[in-house]
Assembly symmetry: C2
């Protein structure tokens, strides 16, 4: 073959009918809950100005941004001097736009641009793909979907509580039973650092503590020393790490004493207790909600609650996470927009549901009946039946070409169509349809009205 | 303000809650019909290899492709010699990927890559954005959505008929009554060219004839001469253009005589008649279906039926179109894949429905009830009510902060929430809710169960 075999860019995927049906099931389930809680949908363009994107995701993020070449004569602004000066000088001359890297920055940009039209508190959800020029590997793609919900313009802890409720509802809809919603509060982390005499070093603290499960307390101590924590600080930290408390109430009681000297730490505890109190007033228990005093996603960003959700028993990372922030839009010149939000990772949820084999059976929206026929005359009769079935809202197909009946059945079988209505000379004469149940193999002769009844009942 | 005001790239748009609800209404309406007719969803990646895209859309298309800069050290393959050689030499060194330009080429690429797994006839639909670096103008965007349905692997004219049925169904769902589905067959165009002695010049013929309405027959004659049509050819064409036939049957009768000497022309007429015959067997009339013997979209591509749909009375171009092709995938090395397909332009349909003011009123999926309260104690009582409402599947919100009741009502008003449930000390005592209908202004005191009943009934 002289033509090049076509492929797709690495880290990207086609989604055929089965994958699409399963992905739509995930999107619809999440969306139903977002809407039930009063969140409204927003979509932003695939491309943003690079001035909007760069500097928002750290140096690594800037590297991983997909940049779009200016259209038209893209080299016209590049003289040979600029060329010699290298990539950092050439880039701004040939590219002004990049692909969406997450849903948060475009949301912040939207809020700033529409600040006077928006009704606050503004509850928005967004389900769109993002792109990152990461090294592709199992479970990590260069194009993947995020589902975010954020509310901005309020400090109410009801919002945090509702996030817990939304996560619980979505997971319950997915029939996921064994999972943990880890929750912490940035102020507690600050308090711990304060109490051990390492104020402002929460970031280092968390990186080290995060390895406790893997490397043990002795090695964590070594790491803390390397990160310039004093012997005294490490000693003072010890009660937290040797604490075997698994219970949220017990943890909070312990921390109230431990953080007694830290105003901000106590405030963090109060906030958490308020969330738990709201949760119970909403008729929800703390099942699945696990307080973790060293949970610390994206420290630099969050100022209050921090969430992270993992499904137990599958080797897949966190499937959801989020937290409260004080300043979403400051980087775009609008101060004082605080809020709280969280995100579901669709691709990881897909992997979880697949690994646990709990996708619903009927997730593919299949054609409900195919009409098969033996000859031209029967084919034409089928066309009327076909139209009648569709008028009843029944997804119906006819095999378009007059081929052997076996081939027609093969098509229905491969496409997973549950019923085949056969039309032969006898059926034509009696004004009936032979309806074959493709699962049981049973066949019965029915009037059109009875076929409609039967299929609608399924 | 020191910070730069953020904007979005030209020709691109944000979609807020109202626009999203309307767009989803369009997508869902179209999708329902596609599924009813047995089409299954496919999605392809935003980026394709440039080798897949270039050369498929003509020179202009290649210019309008958005190209993505290679990630990492994008200049590493560009030496100063290449740089001096100019854009055409530099481009392949710095960019390997481009953004999807339409849904057809990625579909063809998908069919070739999955040719052995696909069940034929393969009926797929696809609803995704495409990107073109066109000059932005009213109604023309650089990011816009297409909704395509194609069936490949069959020559059956039932497929063409079903396309007519799908268009009629979608338009009926939209409550669009005044529109024309223009239909032609490429073979008829070939036949006309043959009969006037200008075989192979269909393209030139159509470009000239297309202007008939605007410039009149005398000027079209001039243009035909300029395009090297002989006096004799122009003379022979005259009966077609002076034909005042508005009726499909009349036209076909006329053309049967006119094209009597052209085998291919007569085949085109036969095909059209077969489609009309199938249409009537499916219980559909030819209302809205207008045969136009000089309709010629994308000539080089189509080999059989050609469709184009315009809504009358609005100054908006065609909102749907398509046709039959003999060779979808030849360019990727797979011969013999024929099919027929069509596409809805979502952005134009949006404009049409807006201009005609026929979007359904309740298209925004609004929160159904907001809870308002006078104090902390009432707020906490509201939380239980809120949870109960949501358990019933009622989209419900609470204003998260304790503010003046007027501000809470303002929020509900701006968000278009139809009911507000007010909780004051009296309600708390009597275990009731004061339900205010935001449209009528009426207020009544109800139990929670009655609130649920009332809202579910709406």
């Amino acid at each position: 073959m002289s033509k090049q075999k076509p492929g797709i860019p690495k880290g990207m995927r086609d989604f055929g009918p089965k994958e699409m049906a399963r992905r739509n099931y995930i999107f619809n389930t999440i969306q139903d809950t977002f809407k039930l809680f009063g969140y409204q949908q927003l979509e932003t363009p695939t491309m943003e100005n690079l001035s909007t994107l760069t500097g928002k995701y750290g140096d690594e993020g800037d590297q991983l941004l997909f940049k779009v070449l200016n259209s038209g004569a893209f080299l016209k602004k590049v003289d040979s001097e600029t060329f010699k000066a290298g990539e950092s000088k050439v880039l701004p001359k040939i590219s002004e736009k990049g692909l969406r890297y997450d849903l948060t920055v475009p949301f912040a940009r939207y809020v700033v641009m529409n600040q006077n039209e928006i009704t606050y508190p503004f509850k928005r959800f967004q389900m769109q793909p993002v792109w990152r020029a990461d090294r592709p590997q199992k479970g990590r793609y260069r194009e993947f979907y995020q589902c975010d919900a954020d509310v901005v313009g309020t400090d109410s802890l009801i919002c945090e509580t509702e996030i817990l409720c939304m996560i619980k509802r979505v997971f319950s809809d997915f029939k996921l039973n064994d999972y943990d919603i880890k929750i912490n509060n940035r102020k507690i982390l600050t308090g711990i650092a304060e109490v051990i005499g390492a104020f402002g070093k929460e970031a280092d603290l968390c990186v080290a503590i995060d390895k406790l499960d893997k490397i043990g307390w002795e090695k964590v101590k070594v790491e803390l020393k390397e990160r310039n924590f004093s012997e005294d600080a490490i000693e003072k930290l010890s009660p937290i790490l040797s604490q075997n408390e698994k219970n949220n109430v017990g943890w909070l009681q312990f921390l109230k004493k431990y953080l007694a000297e830290s105003e901000i730490g106590l405030k963090g505890i109060n906030e958490l207790e308020e969330v738990f109190s709201y949760l119970s007033k909403m008729g929800e228990n703390q099942h699945h909600v696990v307080f973790d005093p060293v949970l610390a996603r994206g420290l630099s960003y969050y100022t209050g609650a921090i969430f992270e959700v993992k499904v137990n028993g599958v080797g897949i990372g966190s499937v959801s996470g989020g937290g409260r922030y004080d300043d979403l839009t400051g980087v775009f010149g609008l101060k004082g927009v605080s809020g709280v939000g969280f995100s579901f990772g669709v691709d990881r949820l897909y992997d979880v549901l697949e690994e646990l084999n709990i996708f619903p059976d009927d997730e593919v929206e299949r054609t409900q009946i195919m009409l098969a026929y033996f000859g031209e005359e029967e084919k034409e009769a089928c066309l009327g039946v076909l139209a009648a079935l569709r008028k009843e809202g029944i997804a119906a197909e006819i095999y378009p070409d007059l081929v052997k009946i076996k081939k027609q059945f093969n098509y229905a079988g491969k496409k997973g169509i549950p019923y085949v209505g056969v039309m032969g000379s006898e059926e034509l004469e009696n004004n009936t349809i032979s309806l074959k149940d493709m699962t049981s193999g049973e066949q019965e002769s029915l009037s059109l009205a009875d076929v409609v009844k039967k299929i609608k009942k399924v």
